[in-house]
Symmetry: C2
Subunit: 110 residues, 2 copies
DNA sequence: GGTTGACCTATAGACTCTCTTCATATAGGA
DNA sequence: TCCTATATGAAGAGAGTCTATAGGTCAACC
């Protein structure tokens, strides 16, 4: 859903900070936690999970889901936890820098 | 320099809101307005200017710069001005949604 | 009891777009 | 002669989108 590059990874890691979950569940969590504002596509999410696993930020294992289905559960690794903190902090810096340049939102007439 | 996708366009439009400028000047403005935090690459900026012009958000014309050099000056069009307002507002929404999911920054030990 | 369909969960390929990197070009001024 | 100002283009990487496919489970329905 037209995310800004890199943000998805951070959101996924943040979601897994709350506990292990399978991909489908991660997408659902992000959607509902954002009140449906962020509509994560599975076609974006699964490659993101691969990336994160390849980098060692998360690890996975097959289990049976609460709906009695075969699902790959992902959990945050120690390295992933550190990485998340760094990314979050970089994100906050970046956002405030951009906000400083952009200035206040112009008043929009409804 | 490792911007989030789409943000560059918004920053460029915002910079041109302050008045027409040539590409080189836009890059310098963004750099200095961000206290060098955002290091805009020319290889990113010029394609961005092409994009924006193709979409009609900005228009250009050759002039002589204050350093007596040939330079292409860009200015915001009326459509670009509207577009900027929309993008700024979408950006603000997106950022606050992400911030809500991410929660507060963990305290980092110095 | 068997069929149907909805939902859960996962994978993969092709494509698009943005940004990065690098190379090149020209002109003015010191 | 060299540095700064200014511009262009091509090649490549990486992320995200779109679309198609796949199989298992459960509930509803006839």
């Amino acid at each position: 859903m037209e995310l800004l590059q890199g943000t998805l990874d951070m959101l996924v890691l943040r979601t897994l900070l709350a506990g292990p979950q399978h991909g489908y569940g991660v997408a659902k969590s992000i959607r509902s936690n954002s009140s449906e504002a962020l509509d994560i596509e599975f076609g974006s999410l699964y490659p993101a999970l691969k990336r994160l696993e390849a980098k060692g930020w998360i690890a996975s294992g097959w289990k049976t889901s609460e709906h009695n289905r075969r699902a790959k559960y992902y959990r945050l690794t120690a390295a992933g936890r550190k990485h998340l903190v760094r990314e979050h902090s970089k994100w906050a810096d970046f956002v405030s820098t951009v906000a400083r340049i952009m200035g206040p939102l112009p008043q929009v007439q409804k």
